[in-house]
Amino acid sequence: MTLRVVLADDTLLFRAALAELLGSNGCEIVGQAGDGDRLRALVAETRPDLAVVDIRMPPGHHLEGLRAATDIRRTHPEVGVLLLSQYLEATHLADLVGSVARGVGYLLKDRASGPDFLDAVKQIAAGGCAFDPDVVTAMLNRPSRRDRLDTLTPREREVLSLMAQGLSNAAITTRLYLTTRTVETHIRNIFQRLELPAELEHHRRVLAVLAYLRSN
């Protein structure tokens, strides 16, 4: 099944290269925009599976992309949104994700040329999450979270971080060279220590973790 994707970035060369990459990897580019307003119109018109949005766009080159992405998540909750940025800030993540962490991602622009990018795109289009490892680390490091997160073992922290990046149990197993059983135990422990309900499924766990990270 091909993914229908809208691209929003005012740098033509980057946008063209990104369109080519996605186009040759199972996506159909149904529209391209150079600013936030055009993006909103395109999404309303084409109802894509996913919108890939640069955080800085005209006219102000400030946070127009973030604002457009937040709007789209509110008006078209079924459309996945992947926000790309030259640098990462945890503050922006909270604004973007809002109260429902479904079908949303926030990645450094450099990741587009990395190995996990296409996986992240598919994950978000399917209603999952993908957050940049850097920004996840930053959130885990936030002072207000420390007390409770300090009770996690280093290995559990590692697992939690990968969960937040949108990796499945199987992917975490491969990444950390562990057995499925061990990973499941780690996750159960994490939920217990963070006092999260344990019976949630795959991507919902990430959402729950993020919800916890955002809370208080």
Binding site: F14, L21, Q86, E89, A90, S113, R142
Partner: protein
Amino acid sequence: MFGAAVLMASASGRHETSTTTLFSGMVGGLYLTAGVIASVRQPANRVGLLMVLVGIAWFAEDMQVSIDPVTHTAGLFVRSASTALLVHLVLAFPSGQLRSRVDRVLVTIAYVTVFGLIPLSTPFFRTYTKNLLLIRYEEWLPGSVNVVQVAVATAVVAVLLVRWITSTRPARRVLAPVFVTGLLGAVESVVGPVLGEGVPWAHEVLSDIGHLAVLLLPLAFLAGVWRVRLGRTTVADLLVRLPRASPTELQDLLATALGDPSLRVGYYRADHADYVDREGRPLVIPSYQAVTVVERDGRRVAALVHDPALRDDRHVLEAVTSAAALELDNQRLAAEVRAQLVEVRASRARIVAAGDDQRRRVERDLHDGAQQQLVTVALLLRLAQQQLDSSPDRDAKLADYLRRSAAGLEDALRELRELARGIHPAVLSEAGLLAALRALAARSPRPIELREVPLPALPAPVEATAYFVAAEAVTNALKYASARTIRIEVRHDKDELHLEVTDDGVGGADLTRGTGLLGLRDRASALDGELVVRSSTGAGTSVHVVLPLEPA
């Protein structure tokens, strides 16, 4: 002499109670005396002349009281002469000039009535003493003359009320005694004829009020004259206190002496040909204020910006300015130095702000320019890799070159990002100081405890300075002090932002030994703030910066 003669001639016909010889003599005498004093004090002001004329008219009116038919008949011609002059006097007070067309029309009507209509109506007027010129009594005549008088008096009351309401405080101070008595008299003139003689006791009371007002009006003017004297004692008091006055007190002393709280002192700067206030800031002169230039030995030293109404009180104004000229000249030099200081401070703050702007621009250029292009190149490399991987005869060497290029590019991008953040973190301008400090804490390899409170909107230079101080202190703590824990505390009160970074490292930090903190201290003081470093060997380091939220 004339007054005395009239009093003698009219004594025979006087009523026992109200229009006694004593009362008439006092009123007329007071007008004459006050008028003469006023004319001597201010020869150019017509008020004095008008008062003298009122006095004369007052005595002339009294001729009608005489029982000698000839004197009585002559008196009937001028039987209301003083009222027209009084209307003129009240409206022209204190400058002697009639200010508006309404004033002039009213005064003209009053004169025409009193010196035209009333003499013309004399042959048709019946009185107790024989009117030698009586032709025929016309009953409607006294009534219509009354109507005109009531109309003019009502208009005068209205004009006085409007003038009072629109007056400023110093102006009211000058007007008060005369206006109050004037209003009293005018009210009596309106109500008296309306009631007529139908209600005897009310007529009596009103007549007494009218007489009282007439008696008080010259006294009110004398009070005005006296108040100028009082002003002079204030000047004497001012002279005693001036040499010990600070610039703030000097302005307040002058404001008190002149009764004008809106008064401002401007010190003259000859090299700029402008005025600065007591804090050294350029003086703004509101368009509704008047300016009196103060000179000393022919040199301009200062200007008083004050309520235009003070000009009605020229004696006091001149006395005060000449008394204060020496002290104003002395303080002018201090004001000039303060003005220079204000300029230097402002220019330092501008330099900091300009530097920040430049850093922000460089950061943006890096992100949107070089970095954007490098990211695009990385993406193109990835496409090349993909193309290569899918071709049947894959060149392993080429694939390796591409992989190494991509890795190098990735490192370059990371470094570029670090560089941009060091120049000016984007999060600072996008999400504020707290977000930037949280990001700083999150990046730190050692735990940083951030104690924060919600902050108001901060001026950009304050925000940037606080952030750079925190970043520098954290870097020092990690790099040189081998600190285990670091605490950043941000708080603010009404006018200051406080940021303190404390660590438990080796201590012994010295501001003067070439750390980045020295530059940051300059930066803080350019914003009128202060940076203090406390550090003793083995006891950790604390860097505390205080920044005013409002530029001084």
